[in-house]
């Protein structure tokens, strides 16, 4: 059976060159970079080379990169650390309703500890309003955190415009770039960001590795307490396989950025168009053009996401959903609710995120199996049944 992996926003396969690099640091250069003997110095060299590579993708200086255990830790460190670092200036923070839980839950934690948070709403396509953002700023605003690309619906926020405003007002600006780093152009200077989160496993590197870019001069408390690693910003023996793997992955995605953007945009549009033409009662979620090249997010009315995923999985297709059954909570995705979807429609969402291993044939295959699955699940659905009954009798009022 054909295997088609369409869940690159959840995680990516590890690039074979990355595997090679990791292996070298597991078998040859396995030393502790803090050791002064040659075994340690060899590891240290790998650590600093990785830092250069990770920095280069976003136009940062190597010393502005702090390695972490992943996107979640970087978000926590930036937001909680940033808030406490500036608490003497004020207690108001701004973010959006559609952030990743790593960001939202960091803010929830700060709210419990006396900070005030504005969660900006988004429009039907998932975009914040820059005017609304500007109006939400108070004298006490000390930190803004906004994601670059939404992990569910792929919408790209106007970070550059937001960054211009925070810079002018002297407000600390953090960007969660987990879904944009290495996928679309990201330049910390052009975007005017003070801190930026990236994660290795979204760009064909290993899981459990990420970084926080911290602009030179910005001071935040250290995330862990202990040794002198990462200039004491993030003590703990460095995750060498994770870091060198991240470095290699960054190097590769940096080189392939332009060509992959073009290729994935074409595949994405082919997939979207194919579904629109073949399946009724759907909704395309997210912005049509201000959108991550590889992201397709569609709601299929009358069916539930987990059933859809399992059915696709049995056909060899791996994808994800914003259904409550797969979100680990009782409610469907907060992002889909924020763009105005009803619970029912949110439950029936399917996210397919493309990556460097996907081909035209993969898309053709999905366009073959998906309509069959949707038809089968709808034939089992009491909601679809009701809809058809109603359409015959023209009694729309019963449709939920």
């Amino acid at each position: 059976m054909r295997k088609v992996y369409l869940d690159h926003s959840a995680t990516t396969p590890v690039h074979s060159e990355v595997v090679k690099t990791i292996n070298y640091y597991l078998t040859e250069a396995w030393g502790n970079p803090s050791s002064i003997h040659s075994v340690g110095r060899r590891a240290k060299k790998g650590l600093e080379e990785a830092r250069e590579k990770v920095a280069a993708v976003i136009g940062a200086k190597p010393e502005e990169i702090t390695f972490t255990s992943g996107g979640t830790e970087s978000d926590n460190m930036a937001i909680i650390g940033g808030a406490y670092a500036r608490q003497k200036k004020g207690n108001h923070l701004i973010t959006t309703q559609v952030e990743h839980h790593a960001v939202l839950d960091s803010f929830k934690n700060l709210e419990k500890n006396g900070f005030e948070v504005t969660y900006l709403p988004v429009d039907e396509e998932g975009l914040i309003s820059v005017d609304e953002f500007r109006e939400s700023i108070k004298d006490s605003t000390i930190l803004v955190s906004m994601m670059h690309v939404n992990n569910e619906i792929g919408t790209i926020q106007p970070i550059e415009e937001v960054g211009a405003i925070t810079k002018e007002k002297g407000i600390l600006f953090h960007v969660d770039a987990v879904q944009s780093y290495g996928k679309i152009p990201v330049d910390v200077n052009k975007l005017n960001v003070d801190m930026l989160t990236a994660s290795s496993h979204k760009i064909y590197g290993p899981k459990g590795s990420g970084c926080l870019y911290i602009r030179k001069g910005v001071r935040i408390p250290s995330f862990t307490h202990g040794g002198a690693q990462e200039k004491k910003r993030r003590p703990g023996t460095e995750n060498m396989p994770g870091i060198v793997g991240f470095g290699k992955a960054a190097e590769i995605v940096g080189q392939e950025l332009e060509s992959e953007m073009k290729r994935l945009t074409a595949l994405r549009d082919k997939l979207t168009k194919g579904i629109e033409e073949n399946i009724s009662d759907i909704r395309i979620n997210g912005h049509r053009t201000k959108r991550l090249p590889g992201n397709v997010n569609i709601s299929f009315r009358y069916i539930e996401g987990e059933s859809l995923l399992l059915s696709l999985d049995m056909k060899g297709v791996a994808a994800s959903s914003g259904s409550a059954c797969t979100s680990g909570s009782l409610d469907p995705s907060h992002v889909l609710l924020a763009i105005g979807l009803s619970h029912e429609i949110a439950h029936g969402s399917l996210r397919m995120t493309l990556g460097r291993d996907n081909t035209e044939e993969d898309i053709d295959y999905v366009l073959k199996v998906l309509p069959e699955i949707v038809t089968r699940l709808r034939s089992m659905s009491p909601l679809y049944q009701r809809k058809e009954a109603c359409q015959q009798k023209e009694c729309y009022e019963h449709v939920q």
């Binding site: 009358y302 069916i303 539930e304 996401g305 987990e306 059933s307 399992l310 049995m314 259904s323 409550a324 059954c325 680990g328 009782l330 469907p332 009803s342 619970h343 029912e344 439950h347 034939s379 089992m380 659905s381 009491p382 909601l383 679809y384 049944q385 939920q400």
Partner: protein, 123 residues
């Protein structure tokens, strides 16, 4: 995540569909929580002779619906009322903990269909 039995009932659900002239119909759940099960039964001489379901929901919701229809066919009404959600889950070799509460409602839908039948009988 799911047992083989769950996957079997999810992939090849038994007794999907509607019945033209049901003796009783029961529905549980709502779209907010993400599961809706609709159960149709035909009762003859106090025995459930036919049963069908339609379900909107996750793998567990579909599999439990399918399983309850298998368990109930040929049972008397009294026996059918004794089938619990827990028994359905056990017949499927268990469900993941997270699914035990939210998607394990097929017996409830069956009981509602029986109530509907009994109400009609009484009227």
């Amino acid at each position: 995540m799911y047992s083989e039995k769950v996957m079997d009932h999810f992939t090849n659900p038994r007794n999907v569909g509607e019945l033209e002239k049901p003796s009783g119909v029961g529905e549980v759940g709502n779209t907010t929580c993400g599961d809706i099960m609709r159960m149709y039964i035909v009762v003859k001489d106090d025995v459930i002779t036919d049963v069908k379901f339609k379900t909107f929901g996750c793998g567990a919701a579909i599999a439990t619906s399918s399983m309850v229809t298998e368990l109930v066919k040929g049972k008397t009404v009294e026996e059918a009322l004794k089938i619990t959600n827990k028994a359905v889950a056990e017949a499927l070799d268990g469900l993941p903990p997270a699914k035990m509460h939210c998607s394990n409602l097929a017996a409830d839908a069956l009981h509602k269909a029986i109530e509907d039948y009994q109400a009609k009988q009484a009227s």
